[in-house]
């Protein structure tokens, strides 16, 4: 059963391997001439103010969470779309998806009306 996943494994191996390989390569063959300017922290060309460990505005988390939630649902829809070609379940699957999207929409309406999308 696991053999069916072998291509996925290969892809994983290749993806990780490529990243590691390039980083190692640049590490070993690149020249290193450190100067104080080069070693200083770099933030869009401007000297950093304060430390990097600051509190983020909570709004960022909210947006991130909402993004995550609605993004995750897409994964479900993807799988559903793959199975949809099967003629015998099409009507049923369509109803199921309508139910799913409706629930999602209620959630969306909730988020909207509560003002979570406004940047106050």
């Amino acid at each position: 059963m696991l053999q069916a996943y072998f291509p996925v494994f290969l892809l994983l191996l290749f993806g990780v391997g490529f990243a590691v390989f390039t980083m190692l390569l640049s590490h070993f063959i690149g020249k290193k001439k450190p100067t104080p300017v080069k070693l200083s922290p770099y933030e869009c060309g401007i000297k950093p103010i304060g430390t990097a460990r600051i509190q983020f505005f909570v709004k960022f988390y909210l947006i991130a969470l909402l993004f995550l939630l609605f993004d995750m649902e897409t994964i479900f829809i993807l799988i559903w779309a793959v199975a949809f070609h099967d003629k015998s379940i099409q009507v049923f699957a369509l109803i199921e998806m309508v139910v799913f999207i409706t629930i999602l929409l209620v959630g969306y309406a909730y988020v909207w009306r509560k003002g979570a999308l406004k940047w106050r």
């Binding site: 199975a83 099967d86 015998s88 379940i89 049923f92 209620v106 309406a109 909730y110 009306r113 509560k114």
Partner: protein, 487 residues
């Protein structure tokens, strides 16, 4: 490669309770969004109406027992009973809520909708006959309860409770999932019926996996049901959560959790190799829960913490029935009845106790000392609380006594005399703290402050809930055959 997906046959009547409950909760969210602020209070009455409607639909569904959703749910007498108990519990919880929600400025719409979602999770959990469904309904239930626990956002205790509940709950869910994976690995199915069929043929290797899987699932349930040694979260969560939600966590999730555990155990219980091995594990958990719960409750000063420890102890008593079911097939029917009766009894007495706690509670405070002289200032509330305490102790003629009688008679019938004696002696220990509440109410003088400040009125809904549960506690205690007639 893959089996062809088939469209499950759906009978509207069978699935109506679940579907309508979900729609109802969504509708309440929407209504709350678009109603003007001053009319949002209708959410709670609407929620209660929903519960009544669902109860009606469930009775309709019970006319045709079956296995809707492709056999993932089982609608039989057991399921029906659990649904009714959960609905009664949910209905009473809604009834005891209004004043509290008003007082603590909790948003009505979210509160009601989440309560309904939690109930949906509970009734699905109680009737699910398949492990993934079980897991999903457990998650619906848990997620709703996590949010409800933390819904008093201005109260740091509530947030703390929610965080603890969530972190530990998520942890225990991981155990549950792992256990389900093991069971699936060993038997190749997530349907409990199929698992039960395939078990006898399981080889040595698979048997080990089943044990590990069951152990992990048991650990997950131990957390949800607040059984020792995974009970640590209960006191903090019970204390921090809004009081009606505490009541709901204590009652509804326990009913649903034990029902689900019953399904799992029943599917494994016929397998000979299982009985001996689970026996000791369950024995230790039950005894530890009874002993730890009862002894720790003695020193509590807060009524909610006290009831939390008492709920640990009660889970221990109830686990005895599961233990009997798992190990002695001959007593299985009796033990199942005992389980159901006790769940119902436990729900009624706990809701009564919490109902009184809400009625006499002041903002953010539930110290037992504040009940001093309650018998003088509001005799009816004191009487209701005394009834709840006596019933929790197991004094006849209350529902608590019949419940204990039922459980321990099942234990003795199964030959676990030592378990019955330990349990009964533990319940004598419980008398110390239950009766202390009565001592404070009846035998201490009211503080001057309490005597002077008039209590806020209890409210019609809460009074109704208290009345209904008091009457049922006594009536079902005197006439237990009303219940027995059901089976």
């Amino acid at each position: 490669m893959m089996s062809q997906p088939t469209v499950p046959q759906l009978f509207w009547v069978e699935v109506a309770p679940f579907v309508v409950l979900c729609i109802w909760a969504l509708a309440i969210i929407l209504a709350d969004l678009f109603l003007p602020a001053e009319r949002r209070r209708v959410a709670l009455p609407l929620g209660f109406l929903g519960v009544v409607l669902i109860a009606y639909l469930s009775i309709q569904a019970f006319e045709i027992p079956g296995n809707p959703f492709g056999g993932m749910l089982t609608l039989d007498t057991f399921a029906f009973f659990c649904i009714v108990v959960i609905l009664v519990g949910g209905g009473l919880t809604i009834l005891i809520s209004p004043r509290y929600v008003q007082r603590e400025h909790i948003p009505h719409g979210e509160y009601t909708a989440l309560l309904l979602f939690a109930m949906l999770g509970m009734i699905l959990l109680a009737v699910s006959n398949e492990l993934i469904t079980l897991l999903l309904s457990l998650e619906i239930l848990s997620l709703s309860l996590y949010i409800l626990t933390g819904i008093e956002r201005h109260n740091p205790r509530s947030s703390e409770a929610a965080l603890k509940y969530f972190l530990l709950g998520a942890f225990s869910t991981a155990f549950l999932i792992m256990g389900i994976a093991f069971l699936y690995g060993a038997t190749g199915s997530t349907f409990l019926v199929t698992i039960a069929e395939r078990l006898p043929a399981a080889g040595q290797q698979s048997a080990l996996w089943v044990f590990v899987g069951f152990g992990l699932i048991l650990a997950g349930f131990c957390f949800k049901l607040a059984l020792a040694p995974l009970h640590m979260w209960a006191p903090d969560v019970y204390e921090g959560a809004p009081t009606p939600i505490t009541a709901f966590i204590a009652t509804g999730s326990k009913v649903a959790g034990f029902a689900a555990l019953w399904h799992v155990v029943m599917s494994l219980a016929d397998w000979q190799a299982m009985t001996q091995n689970t026996f000791y594990v369950l024995w230790i958990i039950a005894v530890f829960s009874m002993v730890i719960g009862n002894f720790a409750a003695i020193v509590q000063k807060n009524i909610k913490r006290l009831l939390a420890y008492s709920s640990i102890a009660h889970s221990g008593y109830i686990l005895i029935t599961i233990l009997v079911i798992a190990s002695v097939p001959a007593v299985r029917t009796n033990a199942t009845q005992a389980l159901l009766y006790y769940l119902m009894a436990y729900m009624l007495m706990n809701l009564l106790a919490f109902g009184v706690a809400i009625a006499c509670g002041r903002k953010g405070d539930s110290n037992i000392e504040h009940y001093a002289g309650l018998a003088r200032t509001s005799p009816l509330l004191a009487a209701a609380m005394a009834l709840a305490m006596l019933s929790l102790t197991g004094v006849p003629p209350t529902v608590g006594f019949v419940g204990k009688f039922y459980i321990f008679s099942a234990a003795i019938q199964a030959g676990y005399l030592e378990l019955a004696i330990i349990g009964l002696l533990a319940s004598v220990v419980s008398a110390v703290y239950y009766l202390r509440v009565i001592v404070v109410m009846y035998m201490h003088e009211p503080s001057r402050e309490a005597a002077e400040t008039a209590r806020e009125p209890v409210g019609a809904a809460n009074s109704l809930a208290l009345l209904v549960s008091s009457v049922m506690i006594i009536l079902l205690g005197i006439f237990p055959f009303w219940f027995l007639g059901l089976k």
